[in-house]
């Protein structure tokens, strides 16, 4: 009796976490522009992970590029104008 209960609890727990994982993977798919419009049953989990990695890398590159361009705001010898520009952007 106890062994039956523990077996069903174990299979129940693993069933839930499989569903959880499928759900989480499809949520990820919705975030990735490359694959979000495809049907989730047509995109493998491995493909979703792969595209996720590519997407994160491209977002990191965008952050790098924007950081580089924004860092020029720090360059101005007239610190007042750089600060003024930043403050202006906050107020608008």
């Amino acid at each position: 009796m106890s062994s039956r209960r523990s077996r069903s609890r174990q299979s129940g727990a693993s069933r839930i976490s499989d569903e959880q994982i499928v759900d989480l993977v499809s949520r990820l798919q919705q975030l990735i522009p490359e694959i979000r419009s495809r049907r989730s049953d047509k995109v493998s989990a491995s493909k979703v992970l792969q595209e996720t990695c590519n997407y994160i890398r491209s977002l990191h590159r965008e952050v790098d590029d924007l950081s580089d361009r924004l860092s020029e705001l720090l360059e101005s010898t007239d610190s007042d104008s750089a600060q003024a520009a930043i403050i202006r952007s906050l107020l608008m």
């Binding site: 989480l24 522009p33 965008e62 952050v63 924007l66 580089d68 705001l73 720090l74 360059e75």
Partner: protein, 148 residues
Amino acid sequence: MTMNILPPNSSAIKTRFAVKFIQAMKRLSKRRGMGDRYKRYRATRAAACVSMASAVGPEWAWSRAVLRKIKRRRLLRQFRVSRKRRLIERTTNPRQNLGFGQEEDLRGLVPGGKGMDYCSLLSETAHYITCLQAQVQVMADILHRSSP
């Protein structure tokens, strides 16, 4: 740059991030030793990533990992720990993964990813992506507004 669908309270996080990031940039603009272009770029990028992690707060493992790393980096810089020792510290950290390529790659890309179970990794990744998207949007916005 792609505009993406963000969760409903994304404007709150974008505002919190924008305020912190601009405050950090103001502090940086007053700092000496910013003549080096590469240093300025590194400092700006660090300010952006820390500001976003700080805006998110300790609720997520990835943001905690970012804030821990910055704290550690500042302490190490204070005590001038050698680069060699820092490299050794990094490579001896235990890894947890099933050995599939993509999962391992993902763990390397998400802050704190190496110590997470698979389920957490997936949900942390989703949140991390939405925050990166918000960060990019706000940074681009600030950039466009600050150019004459």
